[in-house]
């Protein structure tokens, strides 16, 4: 039996239950979902001694206010939304002991866009197609397929060692800084050949694009110089499955970054953001500016391997402080 751990007093702007995502069902038409910033989500879980698959909260721009219903450990990572315990500032990127009756709240957003809260044992919600993640587009998974609301009780699986645990912290050198004008590395394709070399590809790689207010877990619409496809070719193709980080360009030439709640589409895609840089998008908000830099598949693999090595090393270090 799972037991209540948080009572939601205020839900924040958009707070959802997320794990790493809903794998293996895209062939049936499901979307991946899951925490947008996987680094923050995974490190949060490691800090409280969870596996990286455990579910936590994704908090967007303004965090929730929650009452702690039993003693446990939590960790807050990702965007800095000024976390507090009983009104006093709370350290991020470290595990924190909380006791029954404590109030966790958040203040102004200082950096980034999405914060993450991990709790020892992981949040327990009914699995939908093997995952705890909330899919807001389809209103499925997580807490009844919706963002948290006032009065919600969140539960965790009981574990014996919930309280006997020691404080762990991520070394400061690994805490990410979230810029508001990153260069995202891309692999060209799958439909780069549909675009004009000058007015399409060159414009895309040499211009700056602004994140518009239409930016959510489905997609980030960008504004900037129109990217043109080859004359005589259409911007739409027979529908196909797509992956997070794909950049589709509809007829109006304004690119849309496909996020985790999109699973297919029929607009041509000029390029795909490498998975190692996907976390950076999660921390962008309307008004932030993006540039794109082209790299090879081999280079992207190299970057991913290096990054995974670091994450595994951080995990080993955090585990050994047990």
């Amino acid at each position: 039996m799972s037991t209540p751990i948080f009572e939601v007093l205020k839900p924040g702007f958009l707070t959802t239950v997320q794990d790493r995502g809903r794998f293996y069902y895209q062939c049936m038409g499901a979307s991946l979902s899951g925490a947008l910033d996987s680094f923050s989500h995974r490190i949060g879980n490691f800090l409280v001694g969870n596996s990286e698959d455990a579910a936590g909260l994704e908090m967007t721009v303004a965090g929730p206010t929650m009452r702690i219903l039993q003693d446990t450990w939590i960790a807050i990572t990702g965007a800095n939304i000024s976390p507090k315990k009983d009104g006093l500032p709370l350290s991020m990127w470290t595990s924190v002991k909380v006791e029954e009756g404590n109030i966790i709240s958040f203040g102004p957003l200082k950096e980034g866009c999405r914060g993450y809260l991990a709790v020892r044992g992981g949040i327990s919600v009914p699995l939908v197609m093997g995952s705890c993640s909330t899919d807001l587009r389809l209103k499925e998974g997580g807490k009844e397929g919706r963002p948290l609301q006032t009065g919600d009780l969140l539960e965790i699986e009981p574990s014996e060692s919930r309280y006997e645990f020691i404080e762990k912290a991520l070394s400061p050198e690994w805490i990410p800084c979230y810029g508001s004008n990153p260069t995202l590395r891309v692999i060209m394709g799958p439909q780069a050949r549909y675009f004009d070399k000058e007015t399409g590809i060159k414009t895309f790689l040499e211009s700056e694009y602004v994140v518009t207010p239409k930016a959510n877990r489905i997609g980030y619409r960008l504004d900037g110089p129109a990217i043109l496809h080859k004359e005589g070719l259409e911007a739409s193709i027979p529908t196909e499955a797509c992956c997070p980080g794909g950049i589709q360009v509809p007829e109006d030439g304004k690119p849309i970054i496909l996020m985790v709640e999109q699973n297919g589409g029929g607009y041509i895609k000029i390029a795909t953001i490498i998975s190692s840089d996907f976390d950076l998008i999660a921390q962008l908000k309307p008004g932030d500016k993006i540039r794109f830099g082209k790299i090879s598949v081999a280079k992207a693999h190299q970057i991913l391997k290096k990054r995974e090595k670091i994450i595994q090393r951080l995990k080993a270090r955090l585990d050994s402080t047990n």
Binding site: E234, G264, G266
Partner: protein, 231 residues
């Protein structure tokens, strides 16, 4: 992303389905999942477990095996008739589509209802079927800017494709009508996913009164889905 051809054809789609099955059977370490499209197969792989060269080799092996397998329509595919109310609030783009082709709405509907369409893939949402191919005479471009919300049951067209919305979701198709049937109903014991890839579909015009009656029966779970299946 693997490409199997450029257009929409039942042959290409059958090849994709066989390739997809073979990949699942082969259980190649490092391949996480695959998702079929009209003419493509998206493959997710973990570069920590399989390099690009090894992946390409493995996929080429599957490609060789596909030559030895007979590619044909699925045996248990069914024939289905789906009732639709056209135009008005049910299909807000019907007027535009008719105008676009310089046709009367009635003629457009007749042309639309003539062929039998085949289910090619699931897209957008679990169980959301995508069908093809619309007659060339009524092929219509997708919306320039997708709508942010489309109601459940809506029938939309875009280029030569037809989609039936199973979830309220954003969408870029031209909306011409709506069916009272729930194509996707996870709580239904019989056929939770009403349409399978490979099924053949015809559309049949109903009026608003009939729509309300069927919708009521569907809502109270009294509608027998079998009566929409031929044979």
């Amino acid at each position: 992303m693997l490409e199997f051809g450029m257009g929409i054809s039942p042959k290409i789609n059958q090849r994709i389905r066989v390739f997809f099955d073979l990949i699942r059977e082969a259980n190649i370490p490092g391949i996480i999942e695959a998702a079929p499209g009209f003419r493509t197969l998206l493959i997710y792989y973990n570069p920590m477990l399989i390099g690009l060269k090894a992946l390409k080799e493995k996929l080429r092996e599957v490609e060789e095996r596909i030559q030895t397998v007979e590619v044909k329509p699925h045996e248990d595919s069914k024939k289905v008739t789906i009732p639709v109310v056209y135009g008005g609030e049910f299909g807000p783009d019907l007027d535009f589509v008719a105008q676009f082709h310089g046709m009367y709405k009635e003629d457009l509907i007749e042309l639309f209802q003539k062929p039998e369409y085949s289910v090619y893939m699931y897209g957008l949402a679990p169980g959301h079927p995508l069908l093809a191919a619309l007659p060339r005479k009524i092929t219509t471009p997708r919306l320039k800017t997708p709508r942010s919300k489309v109601p459940v049951g809506t029938i939309g067209i875009g280029n030569r494709q037809i989609g039936i919305y199973t979830h309220e979701a954003p969408g870029g198709l031209q909306l011409i009508g709506r069916t009272p049937l729930k194509i996707y109903e996870p709580k239904r014991k019989n056929l939770p996913l009403f349409l399978d890839i490979g099924d053949m579909v015809k559309f049949k015009k109903i009026d608003e009164e009939q729509y309300r009656q069927i919708a009521q029966r569907v809502e109270s779970n009294k509608e027998d889905m079998n009566c929409y299946i031929e044979g």
